[in-house]
Symmetry: D2
Subunit: 342 residues, 4 copies
Amino acid sequence: MKTLNFEVAADVDPAQLVYTFGGAQAKAELKPGTVVSTSTLDCFAGMITEAGVKPSALIDPRYLNPQTGPFYIEGAEPGDTLAIHFISIEPRFDWGVSTTVEFFGALTGTHDTALLQDPLPENTWFYDLDTEKRLVHFQALGSDLRLPLPLDPMHGTVGVAPALGEVRSALAPGNWGGNMDTPEMRAKTTCYLGVNVPGALFSLGDGHARQGEGETCGVAVECAMDTVFIVELIKGQAPAWPRIETDEYLITTGSTKPLEDAFRIANVEMVNWVSELLEIGTMDAYQLVSQTCLSPVANVVDTVYTMVCKVPKALLGETAAAAFGGAHQKLREKAAEWSAQK
Amino acid sequence: MKTLNFEVAADVDPAQLVYTFGGAQAKAELKPGTVVSTSTLDCFAGMITEAGVKPSALIDPRYLNPQTGPFYIEGAEPGDTLAIHFISIEPRFDWGVSTTVEFFGALTGTHDTALLQDPLPENTWFYDLDTEKRLVHFQALGSDLRLPLPLDPMHGTVGVAPALGEVRSALAPGNWGGNMDTPEMRAKTTCYLGVNVPGALFSLGDGHARQGEGETCGVAVECAMDTVFIVELIKGQAPAWPRIETDEYLITTGSTKPLEDAFRIANVEMVNWVSELLEIGTMDAYQLVSQTCLSPVANVVDTVYTMVCKVPKALLGETAAAAFGGAHQKLREKAAEWSAQK
Amino acid sequence: MKTLNFEVAADVDPAQLVYTFGGAQAKAELKPGTVVSTSTLDCFAGMITEAGVKPSALIDPRYLNPQTGPFYIEGAEPGDTLAIHFISIEPRFDWGVSTTVEFFGALTGTHDTALLQDPLPENTWFYDLDTEKRLVHFQALGSDLRLPLPLDPMHGTVGVAPALGEVRSALAPGNWGGNMDTPEMRAKTTCYLGVNVPGALFSLGDGHARQGEGETCGVAVECAMDTVFIVELIKGQAPAWPRIETDEYLITTGSTKPLEDAFRIANVEMVNWVSELLEIGTMDAYQLVSQTCLSPVANVVDTVYTMVCKVPKALLGETAAAAFGGAHQKLREKAAEWSAQK
Amino acid sequence: MKTLNFEVAADVDPAQLVYTFGGAQAKAELKPGTVVSTSTLDCFAGMITEAGVKPSALIDPRYLNPQTGPFYIEGAEPGDTLAIHFISIEPRFDWGVSTTVEFFGALTGTHDTALLQDPLPENTWFYDLDTEKRLVHFQALGSDLRLPLPLDPMHGTVGVAPALGEVRSALAPGNWGGNMDTPEMRAKTTCYLGVNVPGALFSLGDGHARQGEGETCGVAVECAMDTVFIVELIKGQAPAWPRIETDEYLITTGSTKPLEDAFRIANVEMVNWVSELLEIGTMDAYQLVSQTCLSPVANVVDTVYTMVCKVPKALLGETAAAAFGGAHQKLREKAAEWSAQK
């Protein structure tokens, strides 16, 4: 275990950043087992810093969700599994922003749900972040209302280069991960990603101080992050879609439209995972998942939508801990060891 | 407050039961404020009682989700709001069943998602219910695996007669309530339903000892219930879609296809509710809901799908308690009073 | 063959009309083989008669698509097939109207696709109909542009009482027919409907002087109609979804959301129909339909959406004429006989 | 006008071909106005040549829809419009094939509509093509049935490099064109594509001897093509989505899921186009399109689905011919001139 410090400069030229999964040269080569201490820019590359401004005046829509990475993982081959364990995800500064953007979000017509109505008004909300008290302060724009919300930091984009030679915008989620925008991508979780190209080309970004399930208006409490993660390589076993493991849950994901198909992907993935771990037939696993799963929406606003399927490990018995050869537990221990050494 | 005991006989002729919202004669007239102690048949009217059987051999698909009711609520007029507070929902017997049914469920083609593939196999899982230990025992059909799951009783169908002179099958959810199949419909919750016809014609049924979010295979742990509820009438204020309130959450619902539209309905309802309660503009409410809501799926298997949107009342400040004039708190107190008297 | 004249009075009280499929008493009893000469009100019951008015000021949204009927067909039992052959469908007056309605139509948010944007403006377009020249005159509201369009009269709603004891609004399409809004429902076509209740309870309405495929703004060129049809009864053979036959095409329909599921229904119906008529296996029929079908949208605006699947009979060989025992050809001959006698 | 001959060798190594839009080096540079006479491989690169075989035994799913191109168009800049006029599209050989592929097609579960059912059987249908009689011969696999169908050649994939630095598989349709699979892409049509990168990087492939609307089983009558087209450049005026013009129709396209959103895109595009050409307001154009458009499905099987919206130019008056400065008419004349010279 060896730490690599890798920091994104604050004054970087947006046009020089990476805005895709695939298609970019590796910024660093990592040996499996490395602890990476890094930072990520917010989704606007820090260009929006105050309440009340119209985002379209400040940002170029071609340059959103800048990525930290990609990282080339030594030995990663197509069909392998990358296990990314997040040791910590902490806001880099004491502020975050959210915005409304014309024709973007779940409660407006969009470029895909194309309608003739006028757009909703653009605007920006500024949030004070208090990492001591673990609070995010909502301040209404049209009144004095101010409400403290729990800080709950996470990454919206986590992914690898896609298959079929594709290069995908960091606004898109898919089976390579990408812009899944699920609040489950917190510290102390392990994300499993199937590898599609040599070296995997892993990157991450789009930190959120918190978000609701669905990211309804399309924009979370966006902030730069200081993030520490371990990258591990599991030979073979590539899951068809990204999976997440926490101390409490097995989590599968699916990203597509319509939203029921994202639900179907995540649930088929979970039925197959439970069937394999518990060594029961598909129909028994279908029944068990049907009575035990939690099904929160991740996002209903990106190029396609993301659902997660969560099953409490406690309900599945001891075999649930064996997922990916017990990788999550081992990574939790490595993380504790690293934290102790620091 | 006056208690009305109303029990469904176990040996009733299925063809004589009520399988619709609307279109049936009231079984009783209730004054607002009445506590009703009643029972409901399971969704199969008790016709499926053992593991391993094929449901299609035992049930007539025209007769599913038999309703207890309808109840005519005195004074209820179109535009009013019915507040149904569930004091208790308890399994009537020590067993429940779940099944797979051909071309029904989220992970199979259906009569709507019409495909050419062969159906999944039909089968029945039998669950022992332990109301003392609050457990539901899953027993695999193809192996010895047996797992205890938490008992979490609820009603799948709760609703009133629809608008526009419609009569709707008890398999359909919609803005009248109906087969929403959300695990949020537990004891200690209040369900708000807009009234469409004089007397509202409220009914309930389809008890579940527990279900996963989405009811993936289409069938929960189905069981007969003993249920006690208070029916209250709020003049006017009819919500466009059913809402639920618990001690912790404001909850809105939406039922349609595709699933993202159900999400949109539930979220627009919540944005409007939060805007009204907190006296903030729509865009501020949109922002606040976007950062705070939980978005679990209710069902992805019925004639249309149901989403709920949940916002923690603790995050909204004190004004959140004022929903529907504080009806939930008052009903919680009435329920406590009734329980004490019993 | 016997003609029954049945006319809707122009000054009828809207609240006394029939706005549902199912749930209404039969207006007449018909023997199979009867020629019915009748009239239908326009979808607004004649309440909108000039350009530029706001429809919401003139109409009660509970009372739309008034039906002529229902007709009780002697001998019709569940599982039988009603064959309705349209001899003629002709505008009753020399005018039609179309409107935009708030939150209704394909290019606006709706009550189901619930959004926060302001509604599109309401308005009314008035069309002069010229039945001699077979023209419908479009007149722009905001300019002098006037364009003649071909007259192409049809019925938007054609259906029977639904199954499961349901009563459905005449705004809804489904497997009982109803508000399918397909321009295929012209004169010289035969519509096959599965019977769900004794007597079938057939009705029709919602005449359109013409409409685009999809009925994009939600409202066609609406007009009262004089319509002559033959009602025939085929014992058994009920199709799962309404079918249409013309001299040139076999046509299946499917109505649900999302639109791809409506496509799937219509295509599965066609694969099964072709497989049966040509006595080939399902996979061969799937292949043949895949290379030959036309797939126009019917509507994307009603409570659910309707797709049709059309296969040219000329491509299927002679067996295609045998559909429903050659019913269409026989009805064409009866119609010719009736026209000659007149 | 100058002709460039460019031929794809039949024995090329599949792995050396181009399977993406974007991400490949230009094969040739073309001046606007060039007539290109070229050939395209079939979607399987000629690897499937007989009835009854299982495609999965013969093809690598990473290598489908090989493209001829990309072509770098001199002077093409982002925001410009490429006008591709097809002079002729003719089957290169006297045969075509269609197949069923596991978990691909509209009437089966897929990787996106993820289900637990067994796949439909794989198989291959072989078609004799008769370019003299303009026929395609369907031969059933399970019986002697043989049916002649009209030859109607077209290209499934026509497109340019996408925006946002993306590289997309030739299996995907989108606003860059790509795998739209619409039978409208015939000879004598002009396709307008917005340019996203310098040189546009246009390519084409996936010839179909004919296909039904929707390409229901996922595979048309696939064949190699000899194709002649003119590439023209229009400065600026980039349409948001590909458009097509024929002598009879203005055609817009939209590609996304669910299918109703593809319909919405195509219809919004048409409303805007008609509004601009006829110099009428948006609401008047919405009304006019609603009463005049044809709405055939293109495909319901690719990564996302494609709808087209067609309005007869004859119904719009003379101004309809002015689309893109009359480009279609000019290209028709150039094509006639080229044909005369040959």
